[in-house]
């Protein structure tokens, strides 16, 4: 069987796997963004205890491998609660990416000039309002490029949930390899799928970035 034959024959079987990878990546990203926002706010707060908790979380998560975190959440937790492969894997991805996303948000919030919040406060806006209306919109805009980068890492890292048996792209490739014995072809093919997904994600991130950069320049047409 040639490379091309293997590609076309396994293609229909890959649909579900592609969908599964997208799903678990999305779950991981959504959880990661929520966790990231919460911990970023804790880190820019003035309360030492919140900063301490956030630092602790970020250090533990960044200091341990993702595959270990996935195994803890799936094999480790199963004696107390069985979340299933999708939820365990998705939560592990979210918790892992949350630590990195927290640092991205913290950096972008702190990069907004102090004069911005001072101007907002001087107009009578309270902390929450000045954050929501003035600081965060500017911070989020600056966070888009590093966030996009992190989303791409999350997409590729989602392959690690194959090891708890979740049937996504990489898991699928392993199965094809063991049933056909065509290791090189199987893994190159799955590599191509990842590459295409990453390129699509990159395209979307670039468009969002360009869209957001368009304002702040020139005239607003109503």
């Amino acid at each position: 069987m040639s490379f091309w034959e293997l590609f076309t024959e396994t293609l229909p079987g890959y649909y579900d796997a592609i969908f599964a990878t997208i799903q678990i990546t999305l779950l991981g990203i959504v959880i990661g963004v929520i966790i990231g926002l919460i911990f970023a706010f804790m880190k820019v707060s003035k309360y030492k205890i919140l900063i301490f908790i956030a630092d602790l979380y970020i250090n533990i998560i960044r200091g341990t491998p993702l595959v270990v975190q996935i195994f803890v959440l799936y094999f480790g937790l199963v004696q107390f609660i069985d979340l299933g492969r999708f939820l365990s894997g998705g939560i592990a991805l979210g918790v892992h990416n949350g630590a990195y996303i927290a640092e991205i948000f913290r950096g972008s919030i702190q990069s907004v000039d102090r004069g911005q919040s001072e101007a907002a406060r001087s107009l009578g806006m309270n902390y929450t309002l000045s954050m929501r209306r003035i600081v965060l919109p500017q911070a989020l805009r600056r966070a888009i490029p590093p966030l996009g980068n992190q989303f791409i890492i999350a997409l590729k890292d989602s392959s690690l949930v194959a090891f708890i048996g979740f049937q996504e792209l990489f898991n699928r490739a392993q199965r094809i390899q063991s049933s056909t014995g065509m290791a090189m072809e199987s893994y190159v093919i799955v590599g191509i799928y990842y590459l295409v997904l990453v390129l699509i994600l990159t395209f979307i991130v670039n468009r969002v970035e360009r869209y957001l950069a368009r304002s702040e320049r020139g005239v607003k047409h109503e």
Partner: protein, 246 residues
């Protein structure tokens, strides 16, 4: 002057940055419709004093009364108090993600809860006042420094403050743009706005100020009408400072 309302009264104000004692027992009174210019070398505490009046910096001791009422930092709603004192910054601090009009109506809509149409009407009025009504829908970074500062003044005025604070409003501007901003401020002074202005523009201070206060090392060294400060300063350090800048 004594029979008009005291808009600002500062008594024995002390402010530290860490160990650095930046304001030392400062007393200052500003009456209604009065224009007071704060002058002094950089590091003399004039900007800090101004920022204390708006509670962007918190005093360590002393009293600050606005419109006859002593402000208790712990009890009073500082956000509400800040709506009554407009502030203009050296670096304009316009919101870059909003158009000129959006900058001006932001606080009226979100703080005062004005209807958007009402706020826009108000915004047009104040943008016209500062001569920026032709730039309503552009973003700040397409404007010159002088234009940005005029928008910042309109933004502060749109909250209808009782007092306007200016923190070196022309220091960040190219020399040829200083005039347009000072012009707007002069007009404001003529309309009777109570103003406290930190400035290096001595010509402007002489022309527009009712009183000039010279700060030196965290203290008000001398205060009086501009003619007195500029022509017959009593204090040696005032004369010395003025000889350097005039």
């Amino acid at each position: 002057m004594s029979n008009t309302k005291k808009m600002i009264e500062v008594k024995k104000l002390n402010k530290y940055f860490g160990k650095l004692h930046v304001l030392k027992d400062v007393d200052l009174e500003v009456h209604e419709s009065e224009v007071v210019c704060l002058i002094g070398a950089s590091g003399s505490g004039k900007s800090t004093l101004l920022r204390c009046l708006n509670f962007l910096e918190m005093k360590q001791s002393g009293q600050i009364s606005l419109e006859g009422k002593e402000i208790d930092v712990k009890q009073d709603d500082l956000n509400k108090i800040r709506t009554r004192t407009g502030m203009v910054f050296q670096h304009f601090n316009l919101f870059p993600h909003m158009t000129v009009m959006e900058n001006v109506i932001e606080a009226p809509v979100y703080v005062k809860k004005l209807k958007k149409e009402e706020a826009v009407k108000l915004g047009k009025e104040y943008l016209e006042k500062v001569g920026m009504s032709d730039k309503v829908h552009v973003y700040p970074n397409t404007l010159s420094g002088g234009q940005q500062q005029r928008v910042a003044i309109a933004r502060a005025l749109a909250m209808k403050p009782k007092i306007m604070l200016f923190d070196e409003p022309t220091s960040g501007l190219d020399p040829e743009l200083v005039g347009e901003v000072l012009g707007v401020m002069k007009e404001l002074a003529e309309e009777g706005m109570t103003m406290v202005i930190v400035t290096h523009e001595m010509g402007f201070a002489r022309e527009v100020a009712d009183r000039v206060a010279f700060l030196d090392k965290g203290k008000i060294a001398e205060v009086g009408p501009p003619e007195q400060i500029f022509d017959q300063a009593k204090e040696e350090r005032t004369k010395e400072f003025l000889s350097k800048v005039l």
